[in-house]
């Protein structure tokens, strides 16, 4: 034990003003640094556009301000993109709703017995690993080529993370907590609502964060194969691509990415609200 080390760690208490300073610091970290990273990425995009790509090839990644100007400042284009985005959003949300509802039920059923897990999990994997493309005519035959089929595609794309993470959450429930309920002879429904669901919630939210993006992709994929009814952003992306409209193409991509981020952010916020007070994963 040397003198120096002790001197080194003689720590003055945080001064009174530090609370405000810390908050300021946290604002900086919460918003400033992420914005700095965003700026960096935008800078990189411009670098690619203007330095890496020769003029002829600039359509591969058009300048961002052009993308914004053409896609979002032009009223017609903006309306077109936002309308299509809205329709995709509806599909994605309906799909996600069913994914969450069905996925959690599926997981709860599987968690209730090992043989059920072993019997059912493989089909969940198949559902996830199956190329949707291959099922298009069959699904079209049953569900038509419109809203229903698109929602189903979205569910297929986004249900598995919910199942896997809910199941993980259910299996991670502390044995001591289970004992507590067993001891008092709690009914399965009560165990579910008062123990299993709350305990699995942080995990479920992780599943939701994965499914957020997956549902958007699912809606876009569904758009691609099932084109009856109102066109969504997937159709628009296809269209812009075949019409070589790079700016609008990237505009549509940005719009659908933002949709993914918004859904993701929503669940992050919800998770902080619901589990932040007791589980670290909720404290972003």
């Amino acid at each position: 034990m040397s003198t120096d080390t002790v001197k080194a760690v003689s720590v003055a208490p945080p001064a009174v003003k530090s609370a405000r300073a810390r908050r300021k610091n946290s604002y900086l970290a919460d918003f400033g640094l992420p914005l700095a990273v965003l700026a960096l990425i935008i800078g990189f995009a411009y670098f690619v556009t203007y330095v890496v790509l020769s003029e002829d090839r600039r359509f591969l990644l058009p300048p961002l301000h052009e993308v914004i100007r053409v896609s979002f400042l032009d009223a017609d284009n903006r309306a077109q993109i936002l309308e299509a985005l809205w329709r995709t959003t509806v599909i994605a949300m309906v799909g996600l709703f069913f994914s969450v509802a069905l996925g959690m039920v599926f997981a709860v059923v599987m968690a209730s017995a090992r043989w059920l897990e072993r019997s059912l999990f493989p089909y969940a994997v198949v559902l996830q690993a199956i190329p949707i493309l291959a099922l298009v005519p069959l699904m079209g035959f049953w569900f038509g080529f419109g809203f229903t089929a698109r929602v189903i595609v979205c569910v297929i794309c986004s249900i598995f993370p919910i199942i896997a993470n809910t199941l993980f959450g259910l299996q991670s429930v502390e044995p001591g907590h289970r004992d507590l309920f067993r001891l008092r002879g709690a009914k399965p429904g009560v165990v579910l609502s008062k123990l299993l669901i709350p305990a699995a919630l942080p995990s479920v939210f992780t599943g939701l964060r994965i499914s957020a993006g997956a549902s958007v992709i699912g809606a876009i994929v569904g758009d691609t194969y099932f084109r009856q009814g109102e066109p969504g952003i997937g159709i628009l992306i296809d269209l812009f691509r075949s019409r070589l409209q790079s700016e609008q193409l990237f505009g549509a991509i940005i719009a659908s990415s933002l949709l993914g981020i918004v859904v993701f952010a929503f669940f992050t916020w919800l998770s902080r609200r619901l589990v932040g007070h007791w589980h670290a994963s909720g404290r972003l």
Partner: protein
């Protein structure tokens, strides 16, 4: 091995009960023990001898591998060795859990919960979450949870081990009052010999692993017991006897 269990049995009964964990650890061997309503049996024994296992068998959370166990599983309360509070529930809601499970009315729950919280000295911490409590406070919340349900069989696994002597003595007295009033069957694991003698109708001394019953020390004091009996000669005598049994000495 079919030992007849008397039909009139209530409370707890172990008949040459043994328990071997799947990994081969033999935790208990040939335990014969009866705890009837109105009996308060304390168990003392070296760490790892199978005291918690005994309580887990009594609660049917674990299953014995030989002999028999009979227990009235209704109105069973069990203070686990760990506090096992639900981290997403505040103290108040944690204490309310058993009442909720029983389906009590809201007002009734609120009253019972507040009484229990006051009893264990957690007043003012009703809305705290478990991670905001000290170790002893967590155990007290856990005890409070069990105090809300008027149990017929009450299992305690070192409930007051994490408490200072003063809190401990207060809770001992409160528990004794409760026992005297409700006459439940109590099986109480503790490392404090004085606590065991002060509370119990009988102290059971267990041997090291595999746990067997080494000695049974009946405690003749009548309830309610005056805290002052702790300083009586008979009390000291009983403690000494338990202590000697524990140390493996014949008496």
């Amino acid at each position: 091995m079919a030992v007849a269990i008397p039909e009139t049995a209530a409370g707890l009964r172990f008949v040459s009960t043994g328990m071997e964990y799947p990994d081969g650890t033999v935790a208990l061997e040939g335990v014969d023990l009866d705890v009837r309503p109105g009996q308060f049996v304390s168990v003392v024994g070296p760490s790892g001898c199978g005291k918690s296992t005994l309580l887990r068998l009594a609660s049917r959370l674990e299953h014995h591998t030989s002999g028999e166990v009979a227990v009235d599983p209704h109105a069973l309360a069990y203070v686990f060795q760990d506090a096992t509070l639900l981290p997403w529930r505040s103290v108040k809601k944690n204490v309310a859990l058993f009442c909720e499970l029983r389906g009590d009315g809201k007002a009734d729950i609120a009253r019972r919960v507040q009484e229990a919280i006051d009893l264990v000295g957690l007043t003012g911490f009703e809305n705290h979450y478990p991670h905001q409590l000290s170790g002893g406070m967590r155990m007290r919340a856990s005890v409070a949870r069990c105090l809300t349900v008027d149990p017929g069989v009450f299992l305690f696994d070192e409930p007051f081990g994490a408490l200072d002597e003063i809190s401990r003595q207060k809770l001992n007295d409160d528990l004794q009052t409760l026992f005297h009033a409700q006459k439940f069957a109590a099986l109480f694991v503790t490392h404090s010999i004085a606590e065991a003698v002060y509370l119990s109708t009988e102290v059971v001394v267990m041997s090291g692993r595999p746990g067997r019953i080494l000695d049974r020390v009946p405690v003749p004091f009548a309830y309610p017991r005056d805290p002052q009996i702790r300083y009586s000669e008979e009390f000291a005598h009983l403690c000494a006897r338990v202590s000697q049994s524990l140390a493996g000495k014949e008496h």
